[in-house]
């Protein structure tokens, strides 16, 4: 009997252990995930009845304590001070968390797994479709119609906070893709370190020179691992061919057209010719950027204007400019200049009963007086024309002018609810092509998968 008990116990432990640690999260478990957010104080007592709280869910680095040593300016804190002075009965409650927890708590709040709901929230632009379609974000058309500041948003961005023809977000700050290269590597290869490769052919030629003359350096790199950055760094090449990711209805994949095939073929050719290593298949963007800075890779298409692409610690602006070059992405034959952009926008909770206050607070946060110092400190790219016009404020960024040019040709990924799901087939197609699957076949397979995701 004892042995039988032992056997049953062993059997149970095998089954439970085999599945337990990776089981699909239950709503109960999922609710627990929201505890990453700082606790929010519930109003209590009679005093709280008169008081109102404006709950703001944002990213951690945007709400650094401005009095702490080394912290950057916080547009949220700056706006809070002004806002609370103007509305003595309203307390702005700021809660900042890292990237994944921000997404998770919004998702859990939207699907009702947690009761807490924000009045104002910061969202990555790739989440816009999801949170608009799923009913998390409020329609802001009525606010936009009377907002004179809307015309200050850069033209390429102004339509990118819309979903289904209506406004659901207010742009806060941005990042943009530029082509960067290591000037030391270029010099060692006998190339002009100040001359950016302007075309795909230039990239091939420069890569050939690096391969021939600079041993130990992989001439070109790009992320091709199972990460969002893989598709993000592919998009500029796709957009410049005139192709798009989805058709205008956002119901059908189009990235498998001739332009898409041309863009993927460019990446495949880089690997085939030995200008990029097969190891890109395991890479995310950040290690590639670091390796370009370190001189292990010669050049890459990179995000400029986020923490990962800011210059290495201890490097001055002059040192950075002397070491790294940045320019608009190189063009293919018959293509039009284009790049991809991303960034963060503010939304108002659909369930919020303080939408007017939320809008007013958003206007304060995104006001140039609060946002530009933040953009400068965190090397972000301003989304407003008045911000872009302040070149002096951004003089520490040696490539601000290139970023400003890139903004005028920026494109965005489609704002569909299932965007975060549909990128997996795209990066898989890029990986499969690099591994030898014909590009068209790989992209057609991915397009079918994406169509299935878009039309379940």
């Amino acid at each position: 009997m004892k042995k039988l008990s032992l056997v049953i116990l062993a059997c149970l432990s095998l089954v439970m252990s085999a599945c337990g640690s990776t089981a699909t999260p239950s709503p109960a478990a999922a609710t627990g995930a929201a505890t990453v957010a700082p606790a929010t104080a519930a109003p209590s007592g009679t005093a709280a009845a008169a008081k109102q709280t404006l709950k703001v869910w944002t990213r951690n680095y945007t709400v650094q304590d401005p009095t702490a040593a080394g912290s950057g300016p916080s547009p949220f804190f700056a706006a809070k001070t002004k806002f609370e002075a103007a509305h003595p009965n309203v307390t702005v409650e700021l809660s900042g968390v890292p990237y994944d927890p921000q997404y998770q708590r919004l998702l859990l709040s939207q699907n009702g797994s947690i009761g807490d709901r924000p009045d104002v929230f910061l969202m990555d632009n790739i989440w816009l479709g999801q949170f608009s379609e799923n009913g998390m974000a409020a329609n802001l058309d009525s606010y936009y119609s009377s907002w004179t500041g809307a015309s200050d948003i850069s033209d390429a961005y102004v339509a990118s906070s819309k979903w289904n023809g209506s406004q659901y977000g207010v742009w806060a700050y941005s990042d943009i893709r530029l082509f960067i290269w290591n000037k030391d590597v270029f010099k060692a290869a006998g190339l002009d370190p100040e001359k950016a490769p302007a075309t795909w052919q230039d990239v091939m030629d420069d890569a050939a020179a690096i391969k021939a003359k600079v041993p130990g350096v992989s001439p070109v790199a790009f992320p091709a691992g199972s990460f969002e950055a893989t598709v993000d760094r592919f998009y500029p090449y796709l957009f410049m061919t005139g192709s798009t990711i989805l058709d205008p209805t956002n119901k059908k994949a189009t990235f498998n057209d001739a332009g898409g095939q041309k863009a993927v073929q460019f990446l495949v050719d880089l690997v085939k010719k030995g200008y990029a290593s097969q190891d890109v298949l395991g890479l995310d963007a950040d290690p590639v950027v670091d390796s370009v800075y370190a001189g292990k890779y010669g050049m890459m298409l990179a995000t400029v204007g986020d923490a990962s692409a800011a210059r290495p610690a201890g490097m001055t602006s002059e040192q950075f400019k002397a070491k790294i070059g940045a320019a608009l992405p190189p063009l293919c034959d018959g293509c039009t200049q284009a790049t991809a952009a991303g960034g963060w926008m503010l939304g108002i909770g659909k369930e919020s009963d303080k939408k007017d206050l939320a809008w007013e607070y958003i206007m304060d946060v995104t006001d140039g007086a609060n946002m530009v110092p933040f953009d400068v400190f965190f090397v972000r790219v301003p989304v407003r024309k008045t911000g872009l016009a302040q070149a002096d404020a951004f003089k520490a960024d040696p490539y601000f002018a290139e970023s400003a040019k890139a903004i005028t040709v920026a494109h965005f990924p489609p704002f569909v609810a299932s965007y975060t799901q549909m990128i997996e087939p795209i990066w898989t197609a890029i990986q499969a092509s690099i591994q030898g699957t014909p590009v068209k076949e790989a992209l057609d397979t991915a397009a079918k998968d994406v169509d299935k995701i878009l039309n379940p």
Binding site: A23, T24, S26, S277, Q421, Q435
Partner: protein, 297 residues
Amino acid sequence: MTHKSFGRAVPWLLLALPLLLLLALIVVPYAMTFFYSTTSATFGHLNNPKGVGLDNFESVLSSHTPPFPSVLLVTTIFTGGTLLGSLGLGTGLALSLHTVSSSARSILLAIYLIPWVIAAVVIGYTWRLMYDPQIGLANTLLGAVGIAPVSWLTDRTTAIAALVVANIWATYGIVLLIMSGALANVAPNLIMSGQIDGASYARIVRRVILPSVRPAFLLAGLVALVSGLNVFDLIYVMTGGGPVYQTETLALEMFRITTRRGNVGEGASVTVILFSLSLLLAIGYVFIWRREARKWT
């Protein structure tokens, strides 16, 4: 309540809390997982999801990205490799340690157990660095003997092999611990008899020591099997299941479908499939255990 009856109740009272916790933290989530596997639940729509019968299972089993047999094959190779490798390395080390003095054995045992106490994520990052194409130790060693660098984690065959090696590293410690404990209990006079009869150490190991530690060996095998089957973090850190799903195990597939695609229903169906496979293994294990138990008695 009399003193005697209270005494009888104490063990049950002590067992009640863990039992409740087990019910709340394992049985209930599993029941919900079974429920979700038959629904169209997504992260966006977790509440009141529509019932879809066995559609999720059909979708997972008929998927071509990646094909289910491919995931099953990777899971089998990874689990089998971990089982054989960690059993071999752990038992071999335990036998080697058994031959040294007890003071040296304690120190060496503590050293050899270090990988086992390190978090799998840390081990994953360490091995990822070892396999790094540019600065990794693996390619440096190959280069020292004139062999061209290998893209360890981007080719299916080498990537799976690299993952198995890393997981053996993470797992052999528990096998070593179990086997060392069992070896310490092998009657010295049995070994001495073998030595007097002139048997070699290898023969003594085969004929005397290993038969004596068979129950422990079976237990170590169970632990190694579980360590192979349920690994998620190490693979996630090293390859993320890629490229092109080539290192995706069932545990990774469960994660990918649930969190990346947000398809809770399909993700739950993979959980149920893994649960069923584990159950089959458990039944096989019970069968072997009972057969062996008859020999011990």
